[in-house]
């Protein structure tokens, strides 16, 4: 007897624990196999770009915290960089170093969440993510020292940072930098040769190199596909040209490579932290900038290598105290473009892993 089958549509999400926020995937399934998929989002749209047009340049900094809330420091960084480019403001040396230290700490914290929740999605439920949150907590303590916040830091300012780092910061950072490589080795010991992890991620959700470039992917997603592009190297901003670090890349562009690239990037961030800590000069942390910035008429695009990819801010000024146009180039929104290509042909259980390996933050996708 032949069983007659027909494809059916399943709504995956919007509220589902493995969608990392409110995100819906409209899947057409043939049995367990995905034949079509359409991402539906916008549930967390807050109109940040419109809100920013009503605020002063400094007043927009807290808004950027709320884009990718697991990496607020780098959001601040990209935004102030764009404003500084627009207004032609220079930043004191010490502030540059502090910014780099914060950005790299943030990268580690964000990758810890990314890798932890990815392993959660793979079925290693809660154990790895708890180990990783343990380390992330130490970074949050460091951020707490400098900004008084644990999630939305609002720490960087146009022309520097809001305040100097306190005395106890450097010893705590030294301790962290010393211990972190050991912790990364610990994750590796636990997971690197885990047969289940390999079976579920190797060769799954492949993003070929050409497609990755064509869809404008960035960050670990692009590098896992074998493209050696990192804004810190390709277009060095701030003082990144002074540090030695490698750009880890993958070869296959599968979920495993994306996971490996993130682990390796954490090691590289520790390297940068070590160098920045040793070179940290004394001096001012903020140049003399008026409280209300009036950039000249014009436009600027500032971009950085955020943990999730190329985060860019496109600002247009009409010489008033508020930006005329405030656009965010959200890396995770653009990385999602290839989601359908990566998922079609795989089973529902793989879809969760593929989605998790892109590591999105819905607050940034929807803005």
């Amino acid at each position: 007897m032949v069983i007659k089958t027909e494809p059916f549509v399943v709504n995956f999400g919007p509220a589902h624990p493995s969608t990392h926020g409110v995100f819906r995937m409209r899947m057409t399934l043939d049995g367990e196999v995905i034949v079509d998929m359409e991402p539906v989002f916008g549930y967390l749209h807050r109109g940040i770009e419109k809100l920013a047009e009503e605020r002063t340049y400094t007043g927009c900094i807290p808004l950027t915290d709320r884009l990718d809330y697991t990496a607020s420091m780098t959001n601040n960084f990209a935004y102030v960089l764009a404003v500084e480019r627009l207004a032609g403001i220079t930043v004191p040396e010490r502030a540059e170093y502090i910014r780099v230290i914060m950005a790299e700490l943030q990268r580690i914290a964000s990758h810890l969440i990314a890798v932890g929740t990815f392993l959660n999605d793979c079925g290693a439920f809660m154990t790895p993510v708890l180990y990783m949150l343990r380390e992330r907590e130490k970074i949050l303590d460091l951020f707490d020292m400098v900004s008084g916040q644990r999630l939305t830091y609002n720490y960087m300012r146009v022309g520097g940072v809001s305040q100097d780092i306190p005395e106890e910061f450097i010893p705590a950072l030294k301790k962290f930098v010393k211990e972190m490589p050991g912790w990364i080795d610990e994750y590796d010991r636990l997971l690197k040769e885990n047969e289940i992890l390999l079976a579920r991620t190797k060769g799954v959700g492949i993003l070929p190199k050409e497609l990755a470039i064509n869809i404008s992917a960035s960050g670990p997603v692009l590098r896992a596909s074998g493209v050696k592009r990192d804004i810190r190297r390709a277009d060095p901003y701030s003082i990144y040209d002074r540090f030695e670090f490698d750009i880890p890349t993958g070869t296959a562009g599968d979920c495993y490579d994306r996971y490996r690239v993130r682990i390796e990037e954490m090691r590289q961030s520790v390297r940068i932290l070590k160098q920045a800590m040793e070179q940290l000069p004394k001096g001012k942390v903020r140049s003399d900038v008026p409280h209300l910035t009036h950039p000249p008429v014009g436009e600027a695009y500032g971009h950085i290598e955020a943990p999730r990819g190329e985060l860019g801010f496109y600002l247009v000024s009409d010489n008033s105290i508020a930006p005329y146009r405030f656009h965010v180039r959200a890396p995770t929104l653009i990385n999602l473009t290839a989601l359908r290509d990566m998922m079609v042909g795989w089973k529902v259980a793989d879809a969760i892993i593929i989605f998790g390996s892109i590591d999105i933050c819905v607050a940034e996708v929807d803005r």
């Binding site: 989002f41 109109g47 770009e49 404008s216 277009d235 146009r325 929104l333 653009i334």
Partner: protein
């Protein structure tokens, strides 16, 4: 360092190939006539020495007289960049050709511009609202959108 190519020089190069296709050019970037947008974009993507294989970002700005769509192009091969703009007029039905056929990364971004600015991208495979719901009235990022 990513080399920002001069809009003026590239504009001369394009003018040779497509006469009257450039509206304006400056060292920061160039403005392409909307009729030629797709041809010029295709040329920029494939011409030897330019090879703009990576579309970093697209966004739009509402200047009330016209909408300006800004394309940030990058070449991963040569590590250089260029800002290309296109203008479209009218508040009722502004439109531009879609570049999704060249760079698929434009897909969601063009949909977002359509959603928030109301610019139609001709030839887009799936042009519908992306962050707002289907029945939403108006386009909030326009400067004349009712505030509250």
């Amino acid at each position: 360092m990513t080399l920002a190519l001069s809009g003026e020089e590239i504009a001369k190069q394009i003018e040779k190939k497509f006469p009257k296709s450039i509206v304006k050019s400056s060292p920061e970037g160039l403005v392409v006539d909307r009729e030629f947008l797709l041809e010029v974009a295709s040329y920029l993507k494939t011409a030897r020495g330019l090879d703009f294989d990576y579309l970093t970002a697209i966004t739009a700005v509402d200047y009330l007289d016209y909408f300006e769509v800004v394309y940030q192009l990058t070449s991963i091969k040569h590590n250089h960049s260029l800002v290309v703009k296109a203008r479209c007029y009218g508040r009722e039905n502004p439109s531009l050709p879609s570049v999704v056929s060249l760079w698929r990364g434009a897909d969601f971004q063009e949909r977002e511009i359509y959603d928030l600015f109301g610019i139609n991208f001709e030839g887009h495979p799936n042009l519908k609202r992306i962050v707002l719901w289907a029945g939403f009235e108006g386009h909030p990022l326009r400067k004349d959108y009712l505030r509250w």
